[in-house]
Symmetry: C3
Subunit: 449 residues, 3 copies
C-alpha cells in the first residue's frame, strides 16, 4: 500500500481525465431526481468502481425540520399535436419534464398547455431544467423556439410518472485511514441529464475513491453520493454522532468545464481545507477565485448550518449560476472535457496531499544556518531550474521550523508550493537537519529512514 507522502502523484493517473469523462458519459442519460430509480441506477454505476453502501430511507421519515417525500419515478412523457405527432418527447431529453411532475393524461388547447410550459425566452434554443419537489404539479420544459412553433389546436399531454410512498436513496463509501478523523466528500446525485452539474462531480469522486483505496492515509475519507439538500440533511440527521470526527470536507460540483477554478470557503473561513485549497489554487498557474462563505449554494449550506458548522468548502470550476449553460440542455457532454476533469481532479489530489502531509518539524541546528555545502545540499535536488527554488525552500524551512510553524505555514509565508516545501523538508529530515516535534510526533512519518 502506498504511503501518503506521494499521494498526489499516485492518485493522478495518466488516463484520469478520460476515465472520469467515460463515467460521466454513462451517468449522463439517466433521469435522476431526489428519489427514485434514477438515483439507484446512478449509485449502481458508481458501485462498479467502489463497494458503495446504498441506504434507503422510507417516505415519511422525519429528518430534522424535513420529511422524506414520496418517491418519484417516470417511464415516459410526451406532447402530441392534433395530427398525433410527438412534438415533445421525454425519450429525447429527460429535461422535457419538470422533476416530480404528477401523472397526467389530458387533451388541452395550446393556451391551456402554455400554462404548463417552461422556456427560456432569452436563450431560445435551450431547454430549461425545472423541479417542483414540494408543491404538486406538472409541467413540460422546452426550447422557446419550439414553443413558438406550436400552432393553435388540441394537444395530447402524457406524463407517465408515479409519486408514491417509497424511499430516498443515497450511497456512502468509507476509505479507512490510520485515524477516525474524517474527510467528507459530497456530491449531489439528483440532477437529470446535466453533464457538468453534476455527472462531472459524481464521476470525479467515484474515481478518486477508487484510486484512494491504494493509499494508506492519515485521515479516513467518507464519500457521500446523495440527492441535493434533502439527501445531505438525511445523512446529517442519521449521522449526528460523526460530527466530531469530520475534520475536513469538500462539496464537489461542476468540475468539468474550463472556467474558474472556484473555491468557496467554509463558514468558519480559515480551517485547514480553506487554507489548503486556496494554497493549491494560488499555485496552480490558473486564475482562481476564492470566495468567502455565503449561505447559498450546494450542500455546504447544510454542512455549514450553525448547528453543525462543519469545516466543509465547495469546489467548482465556473461558479454556479454565472454561466449560460447552467441548468439548461446546453450543460451536455460537449460542455465537459477530459482535460478539465483531469485538472480538477489534480487540484483535489494536491489539496489532499497538503491535508495528509502537513506536519510540524523542528530545526535540529537552530543557531545560525547549518552548513549545507558540507552535506552536499546546496543545489542538491532537481535540475538547474529547480535548484534555486529548492535552495530557497531549504532556507525558509530551516528558518521557520521552530516548532510553531507547520509545512503549510511555511509554504504560505514563503509563497512557495506546498509540494516543494514538502519534498525539501523530507530531504532535510533525511539529513537530520529536521526532527519531528515531540508534541506533534503523531503527525509525522519516519520517511523511511
Amino acid at each position: 500500500m502506498r504511503s501518503r507522502e506521494d499521494i498526489a502523484k499516485y492518485l493522478v493517473t495518466e488516463t484520469i481525465g478520460e476515465d472520469i469523462f467515460a463515467s460521466a458519459a454513462k451517468l449522463y442519460p439517466i433521469c435522476r431526481s431526489i428519489t427514485g430509480d434514477g438515483v439507484r441506477r446512478t449509485l449502481r454505476e458508481i458501485g462498479a468502481h467502489i463497494s458503495l453502501h446504498v441506504h434507503e430511507v422510507p417516505t415519511g421519515t422525519a429528518v430534522f425540520d424535513w420529511t422524506i417525500p414520496r418517491e418519484w419515478n417516470i417511464r415516459d412523457a410526451y406532447i402530441k399535436d392534433a395530427s398525433g405527432q410527438k412534438v415533445v418527447d421525454f425519450a429525447q431529453s429527460n429535461l422535457h419534464v419538470m422533476s416530480y411532475s404528477v401523472p397526467v393524461h389530458e387533451h388541452l388547447s395550446l393556451q391551456e398547455l402554455r400554462k404548463h410550459v417552461h422556456t427560456l425566452p432569452e436563450q431560445p434554443e435551450l431547454i430549461p431544467y425545472r423541479t417542483s419537489y414540494y408543491s404538486e404539479g406538472w409541467a413540460f420544459c422546452m426550447s422557446h423556439r419550439q414553443l413558438q412553433g406550436l400552432r393553435d389546436g388540441t394537444y395530447e399531454v402524457v406524463i407517465d410518472s408515479s409519486l408514491k410512498d417509497g424511499s430516498l436513496t443515497y450511497g456512502e463509501y468509507l476509505h479507512k485511514g490510520d485515524t477516525e478523523d474524517e474527510f467528507l466528500f459530497s456530491a449531489h446525485v439528483c440532477h437529470p441529464s446535466l453533464a457538468n452539474d453534476n455527472c462531472s462531480g459524481v464521476a470525479l469522486l467515484a474515481h478518486l475513491a477508487k484510486r484512494l483505496a491504494g493509499v494508506r492515509t492519515r485521515f479516513s475519507y467518507r464519500f457521500l453520493f446523495a440527492p441535493g439538500t434533502i439527501g445531505a440533511i438525511t445523512w446529517l440527521a442519521r449521522n449526528e454522532d460523526k460530527k466530531g470526527h469530520i475534520k475536513h470536507g469538500l462539496v464537489i460540483s461542476m468540475v468539468g468545464d474550463g472556467g474558474g477554478p472556484t473555491y468557496k470557503k467554509s463558514r468558519r473561513g480559515n480551517v485547514m481545507i480553506d487554507r489548503a485549497f486556496a494554497h493549491v489554487l494560488r499555485h496552480s498557474g490558473l486564475t482562481p477565485t476564492i470566495l468567502d462563505f455565503s449561505p447559498y449554494g450546494y450542500d455546504e449550506r447544510q454542512y455549514c448550518s450553525p448547528g453543525f458548522n462543519l469545516p466543509v468548502g465547495l469546489f467548482q470550476r465556473s461558479q454556479f449560476g454565472t454561466i449560460p449553460q447552467y441548468h439548461t440542455s446546453a450543460d451536455d457532454l460537449d460542455f465537459i472535457r477530459p482535460g478539465h476533469l483531469a485538472q480538477s481532479y489534480r487540484l483535489v489530489a494536491e489539496a489532499l496531499n497538503v491535508i495528509e502531509n502537513d506536519a510540524i518539524y523542528q530545526n535540529t541546528l537552530p543557531k545560525c544556518e547549518p552548513q549545507l555545502g558540507k552535506r552536499g545540499l546546496y543545489g542538491a535536488i532537481g535540475g538547474d531550474k529547480d535548484a534555486a527554488a529548492n535552495n530557497m525552500a531549504m532556507l525558509w524551512i530551516l528558518n521557520l521550523a521552530d516548532g510553531s510553524n507547520s509545512l503549510l505555514d511555511i509554504a504560505e509565508r514563503a509563497d512557495m508550493p506546498f509540494k516543494t516545501i514538502q519534498s525539501v523538508a523530507r530531504l532535510l529530515f533525511q539529513h537530520d537537519l529536521l526532527m519531528t516535534n515531540s508534541a506533534n510526533a503523531g503527525m509525522v512519518d519516519d520517511h523511511g529512514r
Copy 2:
C-alpha cells in the same frame, strides 16, 4: 406611542426637509457668538419645538482648564467714509464684525483702518468669518473687492458692542427611553449667519428631537445645543457623572449642502455608532467618505479627549474646510437645500434605527436549514424585485444566528442593508424560527406576537 421597530419610517415625515429648512432660515439672521443674546434667541427658536432646558453659567466659572469668558453683545457697527456714507454696515451682514470685537468709536486713516480689516484676497467677493474670543481686539471683515474700492481719507469706525460679566448659555433636551443609557446629540450654536455651519445642524436636531418624542425608545436621547468648544467643555465639566451613561453620540454640523456624506469615527474607532453610521452610509446609494478619528474638528474633540473618550462621531455632508463656502458669506441660505437636509435627516434616522433595533437572535432549528417552503416563507415578502434579496437575507440570518452574531453583524457579513435584515428577522421570529438569546433577552421586544 410608536415602538422603536419602525423608528426610521416614523421619524422621517414627508415635509421634513422643508421643515428643517424653514427653521434654519429663522436661525440664519441671528448674530450668535459663544455668549450673549444671539445664543439665547437661537435657543428660544429651538424651544418652539421642544421643551428645552436653558442653562446660564456665570462669567468666571472654571470649567476644567478653561474659564467662562465675559459675555459679548453687539447692537450695531459700521464704517463711514469722509462723506458720512456707510461703506460697511453690520445691519447688512453680521459677518462684517469680528466676533468678540471690543467697542470702538474712532476716526482713522485708510492705512490705519486696514490693520483692522480681514478679507479673502483669493475669494474677493466673499466676506470672511473671524473671531477673537480670548485676545482682546476689534476688526471688520469685508470682501476684498470692497476693501480695494475704499479711497484714501478718514473713516469713522463704530462698533457698538459690550464685553461684560454675564454668562454662557446653552440648551439641553432629554428624551427619556426605557434605559438610562444615553445617545448624545450635539450641535454648536455659536456661529452667526452661516447657514450650513451650523443653522442646518441645529435645525435638524430640533426636528429630530421633536419627532422622537413620539417613539418609545430603548435609549435615552440627550440633545445639546451649545457654543463650540467652550460650550461642550462646560457641559462636560458640569456632567462628569453622565460619562458612564453615554453609549453613543453624534456631533452634527453642516448637513444642508449636497456634498459627502462624511462620517468621522470616534477616537475608539469601532464602537456601535461608528459601525452603524458607516453601515448606513455604505448602503445609502451615495458616495460616502468614512474618516478615521483625528483630533481636529468640532466638539467631538472634547467628547473624545482622553479623559472622556466617549463613543461620539461626527456627521457632516461636505467635510469642513474643504469647500470654498466654508466660513464665508457664501455659506448662506442658498447653499443649503431642503432635499439635502431631508437626506441627512434620513441617514441619522436610519442610524438610530440600527442602534435601537440591533439584537442577538438564535436560530431555533440550527441543524441544517429549516424547510422554508412549507412555511410559505420563500419569496414571502415584498414584490418580485425584493424576493431574491429577502430569500438571501433569510439564509444569512438562519446561518449566522448562532447566538454570537447580532443583526448588524449579520448585515455587515451579508453586505445587505440592516433594514432588510431587520425586517426579515422579524418575520422569522414570528414564524418561531428565531428566538431571543436568553443572555440578551433585554435587547429584544416580542414583536407583537
Copy 3:
C-alpha cells in the same frame, strides 16, 4: 556630552557624505576575503576612527555547525601569453582571482585555461566576483570581451596565494549607553574591491560609531565588522550570552548607490527597529521599499535564525541582486556618491533618534483640551509653514497621550514625522501639559526643566 534628544541633528555633520566616501575610497583597493590580511588592513583603517577591538579566531575552531577555515592570503597573480605578456593581472583588479584560489603555477593551453575562467557573457565588459571558500580550486575572473580576445597558445598561469592554518579576524566596537540593552550594527568586511558592497556600509558605520561617541545614549551600541556568514556565526557562537541584551539591530550593506532605500524587516516583523525604520523611510520624501523578512540576504540570516531570532533588520539602497553592477567590477567608486552616502547615514541617524527618544507620556489635563492659547502654544513653534503641522501635532499628542501610546505610536497614527511629534511633545512637557508615565519613568529625561 550631548543628550540623546538631538541625536539625529548632532550625528549628521555637514561633511558626512564626503567623509564616508573618503573612507570607502581607502577601503576599496584592499583585497579582502573571509580571512587574511585584507580583513586586518580593513580593520586597521576603521581603527583610525574608533578604538576597535580586533579578534583572531584560530583555524579549526568549531562555531556551531561550522569550522573556522584555513586562512587565505594572496600576493600576486597573473596570466601570461606565449609572448610573456601579462594578459590578466591581479595588480590591476583583485576581482581577477577567485577568492580562496589555491596556489598554482602552470602552463596551459587556452582550452585548459578556459575551464578555470569565469566571465559574464551577458555583461561582456565586466569582471565578475567569485569565491570558493569551502571547496578547493582556483580560477580567474575576467571580462567576456577579454576572454574572447585570447588566442590559441600556451598560457602561464600564476596564483601566488597561500591557504594555511591561521585565523579568522573580526573587529568590534562598543559605545556604552545608560543601559546594557544593546543596538547591534553589523557590516560584512569580506568582499574585495566592490565599493558599494560593502566599502560603503563599513565606512558609514565607522563614521557613525565615531560620531556617536559624543552622545550620551539610552542604549549601548555594538558595531561588528566581520566577514559575511562565517564572521557573524563566529560572533554569535562566542557571544550567546549577549542574546538577551540585543533589543535592536541593523545589518548595513550597499548604502552608496542612489537606489531604494530598501528596508527588510526582521524575522519577527514588527519589532521596534522594523517600525522605526519603516516610519523614517515613509517620511523621507524618497520612494522606499519595505520588504518582509526572507531567509536569503546578508548576516540578518544568522541573527534571525530561529535559535536567535534577534530583532535585526537590513538596510540597503538598491536591493542586492537587482542591479547590473552587483558583484561585478562595475561596483566601483564611481558607483557610490557622497550625496547618497550622506542620505543613507541621515536615515540611520533618524532611526536611532526614534529608538533613543520614543517614550510614553501622559496628558496632565486629559479632560477636554487644555486651553493652548493662554499658554501661547498655538502657532508657538517654527515659522508659518510649520505652525499648522505643529498645532496638529499638539492636538494629536494631547489626545493620544493617555499612557498607552508612545511617541512612535502617536506619530504613526497621526501620520506625522516622529521628529515633529518629539519636538512638540518636549514643548508640551515643558509647559506641564505632559508628564512621564510613572511606569515608564526610566524612559524619559527631564528635558532640562
